[in-house]
C-alpha cells in the first residue's frame, strides 16, 4: 500500500500536467481533440511500454556487469573531460530510441553518474545521432547542409552538459528525488567494502 502511495506521489507532477493539458484542450478546442489525443496516447503507450520493460531489465543486468569502479571512473563526478568526450561519442553512435535510452539513464542516475555527463550524452544522442542524421536529415535536408549542421553543433552537447553541471554544483542540487535513500545506500556499500 505504501509502495502504491509512493508511486502515486512520484506521478503527481505529471498527473497535474495531464489535467492542465486536457483542460486547455477542452477550453481551446473541443472534446473530439481530447478523445482523439487520449486514444493516440494510449496506443503510443502500448507500442513503447513493452520495449521499456525489456530495456529496464537489460539495464538492470548491464549495471551488474559493469564494475562500479569503472562507472565512477568514466562517468562519475570526477571523470572530467574524458567522461564528457565519451558521452559525446556514445550519444553519436547509439542507435536506440528513447524507450531504450531512458531506462539506461535511470540506472546511471541510481549509480550516481555525473549529471553533466548524462546531459552531454542525452544532447549528443538527440542532436548528433548519426543514424538519425543519415536516415532523416540527409534525404530531407541534403548531405551538405546536414553535415555542416552536425559539425557546427558538435560542441553544443559539451557546453550544455558543462553548464547544467555548473548549475547543479553551484546550487547543491541532486538528481535523486530522495537524497536520504542514496546516503543510506552509500553507507551500506561502504559497510560492505570494509
Amino acid at each position: 500500500m505504501t509502495k502504491f502511495f509512493e508511486a502515486f506521489k512520484a506521478a503527481m507532477p505529471v498527473l497535474i500536467l495531464l489535467a492542465i493539458t486536457a483542460a486547455s484542450a477542452l477550453l481551446y478546442t473541443d472534446q473530439t481533440v481530447v478523445t482523439e489525443g487520449l486514444t493516440s496516447g494510449y496506443e503510443m503507450g502500448l507500442e513503447i511500454i513493452p520495449t521499456m520493460l525489456i530495456a529496464f531489465i537489460f539495464s538492470g543486468l548491464v549495471m551488474k556487469l559493469i564494475p562500479e569502479a569503472f562507472l565512477n571512473r568514466w562517468l562519475g563526478k570526477d571523470a572530467g573531460l574524458k567522461g564528457y568526450l565519451l558521452a559525446l561519442a556514445g550519444g553519436m553512435i547509439t542507435p536506440a530510441g528513447p524507450a531504450v535510452i531512458y531506462p539506461m539513464i535511470g540506472m546511471m542516475i541510481k549509480k550516481r553518474c555525473s549529471v553533466g555527463i548524462i546531459t552531454t550524452f542525452l544532447s549528443s544522442w538527440g542532436m548528433l545521432g548519426l543514424i538519425r542524421a543519415v536516415a532523416w536529415g540527409v534525404p530531407l535536408l541534403g548531405a551538405k547542409l546536414m553535415l555542416l549542421t552536425l559539425l557546427v553543433s558538435l560542441p553544443a552537447p559539451l557546453i550544455a552538459g558543462w553548464l547544467v553541471n555548473v548549475i547543479y554544483e553551484k546550487y547543491g542540487l541532486s538528481m535523486d528525488p530522495d537524497p536520504k535513500k542514496i546516503d543510506t545506500a552509500i553507507i551500506k556499500i561502504q559497510a560492505e567494502e570494509h
Binding site: 506521478a11 487520449l38 542532436m127
Partner: protein, 165 residues
Amino acid sequence: MDYITNGIMLALSLVCAVVLYKQQRTGDLLDGIKAGLGMFMEMLPVFAASFLIAGIALAMISPEQLSLWLSGSNNVAGSMIAALVGAVAPTSPIVLYPIAGTLNSVGTPVAVVIAFVAGFSLVGIGRAIVFELPFMGLKYVIIRSSVALLMPVIIGLIVQSLYVG
C-alpha cells in the same frame, strides 16, 4: 510493437544473463532483473500519464499548422520562433524532419530551418516531458531545457553564414 528493437534488447539481456550465470553470480543476476522490474513498476504510472499528455498535445497541434507558422519567417527573429516551436513540438523526429525538409524546399532561410531542427533535437521539451520528467524530475527538465534553448538560434545562424547554396 517494435519487434526488431525488442528482439535485439531481449537477445542482449540474455547475453548479460548468461555471462552473469557463467561467472556464477546467480545472486547478481536475480538482483539485476529485480532492480529493472522494480524501476519499471515505479515509473509505469508516470509514463502512462506522460503518453496521454503527448497524445493530447499532438492532437491539438498538427504538423500542417507547424509548417504554416514557420514558412514566412526570416533570420534572427524567425530562428528564435523556429527554435521555440521546434522545442515545444510534441512529436517525434519522424514527423519533424519532413517538416524541416518542406520548409527548406520552399525557400525558408537556412538559419530558420536549422534552428527548428536543433530546437527539436537539442531541446525537445515533448521528449523531456514524456521521458525526462519521470527519471530526472521537474528541476532537471527546467534547467536542461533553458540551458539548451539558447543554442539552436546560434547554431542556425552559424550554419547559415557558412552554408553556400
